[in-house]
Symmetry: C2
Subunit: 277 residues, 2 copies
C-alpha cells in the first residue's frame, strides 16, 4: 500500500506520462530544454518535501523542501504548481480528511511562517508569474526570501497570499475553493476506464476546455488562452486531432501548465480514493 507521499510522487509521474496533453511535455513530446527526463528527476526530488507534509511538518516548509528537491535537475521549473497543490492535499490525506472541507481546514490553518517559506521556494527556481498589483510590489514573489520582512510586517498567512491571487491564478483558486476542480476531475478519472495515461490525457483536455489556463494567460496572453480552451473542446468534440494540436502548441510554446497541475492533483486524489495502476 502506497502512503500519501508516495501516491503524490506517482501522481507527478502519471501526469507527465499522460499523452497527448496539448502544449505540455508528455510521454511523446519534449521541449528542447525542458524534457520528460527533467520531470522524472523532479518527481524523485519532490518526495522528501511530500513526506514532510505527510508527517505533519509546516505546509510552507514542506512545500519549500519539495521545490528545492524538484529543482535538482537542469530543466528548470517542472512541478512547482503541482507541488503547491499536492502539499496540502497530502497533509489532508495523511490526517484522514481528504475532502473539500478537510483540505480547506489545512490551507486555512497556514501561518505567516508558511507564507515566508512559500516565498523562499522562489529562490530555488525561476517561475513564470504575473506582475503584482501596484500596491503589492513589496510582495512580488520574484523577490523570493527578500519579501519575508514585508510578509511579517503585514502579517499575511500563506492562505492570505493565495487569496490575493485567486482571481488570476488557477492554483491559488483551488486553495480558496476547497480544491473544487481537483476533486471533480478525480471523479472523472475514476469513472473513466482504460490505461491511466489515457485517462490523464482526457481529464487534462476536459479541464482545459472548461476554463482558460492561467499559466497560458500569464505567458502567452488571454487570446492564446481562449484559443487553447476552444481547441481542447474541439478535440473532445472530435473536430480536431489531439496529436496535431499537441505538436502545434509545443511549436508555439503554448504550455497549459496550470491545467497539468490540476491534473496531477486530480490523479493524487483518485489514487487515494482507490484508482488502480
Amino acid at each position: 500500500m502506497r502512503n500519501p507521499a508516495e501516491n503524490a510522487q506517482l501522481a507527478l509521474l502519471l501526469e507527465v506520462s499522460g499523452t497527448p496533453k496539448p502544449g505540455n511535455v508528455d510521454r511523446h513530446r519534449d521541449y528542447d530544454d525542458l524534457r520528460f527526463e527533467h520531470f522524472m528527476a523532479g518527481a524523485v526530488g519532490s518526495l522528501s518535501g511530500l513526506r514532510m507534509a505527510a508527517d505533519g511538518d509546516r505546509i510552507g516548509r514542506a512545500f519549500e523542501r519539495g521545490v528545492a528537491g524538484m529543482s535538482d535537475q537542469s530543466g528548470g521549473n517542472t512541478q512547482f504548481g503541482a507541488l503547491l497543490m499536492l502539499t496540502p492535499l497530502v497533509r489532508a490525506a495523511a490526517s484522514d480528511r481528504l475532502s473539500p472541507a478537510g483540505t480547506s481546514e489545512v490551507v486555512e490553518g497556514t501561518t505567516v511562517a508558511d507564507a515566508c517559506d512559500f516565498y523562499r521556494a522562489f529562490d530555488h527556481v525561476e517561475v513564470a508569474v504575473d506582475e503584482p498589483p501596484e500596491d503589492m510590489d513589496a510582495l512580488d514573489v520574484r523577490r523570493g526570501s527578500d519579501a519575508v520582512p514585508a510578509l511579517r510586517e503585514r502579517e499575511l498567512t500563506l492562505y492570505d497570499v493565495m487569496a490575493q491571487s485567486a482571481d488570476r491564478d488557477g492554483v491559488a483558486a483551488e486553495w480558496t475553493s476547497g480544491f473544487e476542480r481537483s476533486f471533480e476531475a478525480a471523479e472523472w478519472l475514476r469513472s473513466d476506464d482504460g490505461p491511466v495515461y489515457k485517462r490523464a490525457s482526457r481529464v487534462f483536455l476536459r479541464l482545459l476546455a472548461d476554463e482558460p489556463d492561467t499559466f497560458v494567460v500569464t505567458r502567452n496572453g488571454e487570446t492564446a488562452a481562449a484559443e487553447a480552451t476552444d481547441r481542447a473542446q474541439a478535440v473532445l468534440d472530435g473536430a480536431e486531432d489531439a496529436e496535431a494540436l499537441a505538436e502545434a502548441f509545443v511549436e508555439r510554446d503554448i504550455n497549459p501548465g496550470t491545467t497539468a497541475d490540476l491534473t496531477a492533483a486530480a490523479l493524487f486524489i483518485a489514487l487515494e480514493q482507490g484508482l488502480e495502476v
Copy 2:
C-alpha cells in the same frame, strides 16, 4: 543532491523512459497488460527497499522489501532484475565504494539469511525463470519462501545462489564479475551526449548487440536471442530502423529484459559519477 537511493529510483525511471529500446516497454510503447505506468508505480514502490540498502540493512532484506513495493501495481514484474542489481550497487555507493572491487565486497559479504530473503522475494511477483538443474529442484526459485529450509541446510549465501546461475543469467553474471558490464556501460553513458533518454536507448542497443539477452533465451529460446543481438547490431550499423525493430519485437513478445536491467544499473552508476539530468 540526490542520495544513492534516489539516484537508483531515478535510474529505474530513466531506463523505462529510454526510447527506442526494441522489445521493451518504453516511452513510446506498451504491452497490453504491462504498461509504462506500471513501471512508474514500480519505481515509486521500490524506493523504500533501496533506502534500506543505503542505510546498511541486509542486502537480501532490502531487495525483498524493494520487490514487495515494486509489486504494488497490477502489471506484474516490472523491475525485479533491475532491483537485484541496484540493491548492492546502492549499498556500495552509500558506503563510498562504488567500484567493481567495492561492489564485489558487498555481494561477497551476503549470507544465508540474504539468500532466504531473495527466495521470499519470489512470493511477491511472478518472474520468468529457467528450470533449475536436476539436483537443484529443492532450490527452484519458484518455490519462493518454501525453499528456505533447503537453503539453510545447504548453507548457501545469496552470492552462492547467484554464482550457480551466473552462466545462464545476465544479472547473476554481474554479481560474480564485479558488475563489469554495468560499469563499462556507465562509461558509455557518460561519454555520450544529448538527452539522457536517447543515451539510454543507445546503451541498451550496444549491450544487446554485445551479448545475447538471457531473459530472451529463457522466454523465447536461443535462436530468438541470437536474432535480437544481430538486429541490435544492425540498428547500430544503420542497417535496420530502431523504431521498426521495436514494433516488431513488441509484436512477437521478444522482451530483452536483462539488457534493460543492465541499462538501469549503468544509469545508476553514471548518475552517481555525475551524469547530469
